[in-house]
């Protein structure tokens, strides 16, 4: 699909009939996180996170820098082991599984790392093709076509032969996004997909996230600092503060919240004094 189609379709997204997502209607959860705790050294990073992520929804996680959002995301696919707590993925316990036993869960989930984490020994195209090759797709034609499609979504087709070291930070992020979505996983974890991108590209990435949800019924978990994108993409918002989910609600509820910490984050100004 070309970029212009993508844009014109999402321009009138208000008019588009919302595709019903069977699972969403049933209200099943993709992730169920119970009392998740993580300490590294003597630093308590997560202090009991409880959060359900429903199938087909776009959950946005916000929080101050260094609060543990990336750490939380890594726990969801077993890249970090929690100190305590449980994580159910489609009803199956993830905590305590061996590395090899996590494979099936991980293949259902794509992740965009905050710093891209591209393989620097491979070209952009090889990076994007990697998940497909690992799934056993060998046909060059099919690979080329799907890599082309994925790179088109992030507007990077002309750069497909470059090495990751030779493209800009924002471009690396978009390559990483293409790699996360190419195998069409059921769930995608985005760690700050739009940070470091210009407003135009940010907007198109947000639309892409929205489209993935509408068309493929993808469950999305988006970590972001960008309040504009929160209101553009979120079905629900979770505010991580001091190692716990401090606020959970719809974007509207977030806007209307009177809580001073939530207000301060949303409006981007220092927290008001207790009795102000």
């Amino acid at each position: 699909m070309t970029m212009s189609v993508l844009i014109s379709n999402s321009m009138n997204k208000e008019q588009l009939p919302e595709k019903p997502c069977a699972d969403r209607l049933q209200g099943k959860n993709f992730f169920e996180v119970r009392d998740l705790q993580k300490s590294i050294g003597d630093q308590e990073i997560l202090r009991g996170v409880n959060l359900n992520i429903r199938k087909g929804e776009t959950m946005v996680v916000i929080g101050r820098s260094g609060e543990g959002k990336s750490v939380f995301l890594k726990h969801l696919i077993g890249l970090m082991t929690p100190s305590a707590g449980s994580i159910l993925v489609e009803g199956k316990e993830l905590v305590g599984l061996k590395e090899r036993q996590m494979r099936d869960i991980r293949r259902k989930v794509g992740i965009l790392f905050q710093d891209g984490a591209l393989f620097d020994s491979m070209t952009v195209a090889e990076n994007v093709a990697f998940p497909l090759i690992e799934l056993g797709i060998k046909d060059r034609e099919i690979l080329l076509q799907r890599v082309g499609e994925a790179l088109e979504k992030v507007e990077l087709v002309p750069h497909m032969a470059k090495m990751p070291i030779n493209i800009s930070g924002g471009m690396r992020k978009r390559v990483s996004l293409a790699r996360a979505i190419i195998a069409e996983p059921q769930c995608i974890l985005y760690d700050e997909p739009t940070s470091g991108l210009d407003p135009v590209v940010s907007e198109s990435i947000d639309r892409l996230i929205r489209r993935m949800q509408k068309d493929l019924c993808v469950t999305s978990l988006v970590v972001t600092h960008d309040m504009n994108s929160v209101f553009r993409i979120a079905d629900r918002v979770a505010y991580l503060r001091e190692g716990k989910i401090y606020f959970l609600g719809t974007p509207q509820e977030l806007r209307d919240s009177k809580d001073r910490y939530v207000r301060s984050f949303v409006e981007g100004r220092p927290v008001e004094k207790e009795d102000a």
Partner: protein, 259 residues
């Protein structure tokens, strides 16, 4: 890092042993990526040849010269060929090749894997359901296990040729006479011992170096430390193992009047 030096040493050994077990399991159970094995054979085996040839040749030459100086004093010129050949096959060939490969290949393994670790590329692999041992360690292990014995043989070969040139052209010893002594005192088992040692050293190098890469942390500094440690530890381990290997192999194939 807590605990005394001894517990740290034991824990380290445990970690490397665990990596070895995991790799063996992956070799048997996992999917081997032959394309990566091929790439690694090229970079480890093919790429190390110049280093190994130069090392082997000049060691053979200098050893032959020294032996000749001393032995000719006692009129024992005929022993030079035997001494050079046995030493090259059983000790100098495998050990020096091992040390050179540890420096060249071990360092690059630790640096490459370590950089991937600290830049989250290893996590990216895991996130896509690819086991880092399958993808990173197994191809390197197969490649070095195949390459090392051949590199050792190559070093021995060039060492012998160089010793021949040195003795025959440098000191005017008759060529056929020297060759005859070499052949008389060298058996297939001597070359095999060199290659067996090379094989064992290859496992030491790849396990120690990959381990250093996989546990790297702390960015560039950590990768640098890991790389140094990979070379130092694998070189020392190689020398220690060589001593015990010599005892074991000599017990199985004794050098002496009968052997």
């Amino acid at each position: 890092m807590t605990g005394s030096l001894v517990t740290r040493f034991l824990r380290y050994q445990g970690e490397v042993a665990l990596l070895m077990v995991e790799t063996a399991k992956a070799l048997v159970l996992g999917k081997v990526r032959w394309r990566l094995v091929g790439q690694q054979v090229v970079s480890i085996g093919f790429g190390s040849q110049l280093v190994v040839i130069v090392t082997g040749a000049f060691t053979g030459a200098v050893f032959a010269a020294q032996s000749y100086f001393k032995f000719s004093e006692f009129g024992m010129d005929s022993a030079v060929g035997a001494v050079v050949s046995i030493s090259m096959c059983r000790e100098l060939g495998p050990v020096l090749t091992g040390l050179m490969v540890a420096g060249r290949v071990g360092a690059s393994m630790a640096a490459e894997i370590g950089t991937m670790k600290v830049t989250e590329q290893v996590d990216a692999l895991r996130a896509m359901g690819v086991h880092p041992i399958d993808y990173l360690v197994v191809p390197r292990t197969i490649a070095i296990m195949v390459s090392m014995p051949l590199l050792v043989a190559e070093a021995i070969g060039f060492g012998m040729v160089a010793s021949h040139i040195t003795v025959v052209y440098g000191f005017k010893v008759p060529g056929s006479w020297y060759m005859q002594h070499v052949v008389e005192h060298t058996e297939l088992i001597d070359i095999s011992i060199g290659m067996i040692k090379g094989f064992v050293f290859s496992i030491l190098i790849v396990m120690i170096s990959c381990h250093q890469g996989l546990v790297a942390s702390n960015g560039a500094v950590g990768v640098g430390k890991g790389t140094t440690a990979a070379v130092v530890v694998s070189s020392l381990a190689l020398l220690v193992f060589n001593f015990f290997l010599t005892l074991i192999l000599n017990y199985m194939s004794p050098l002496g009047p009968s052997g």
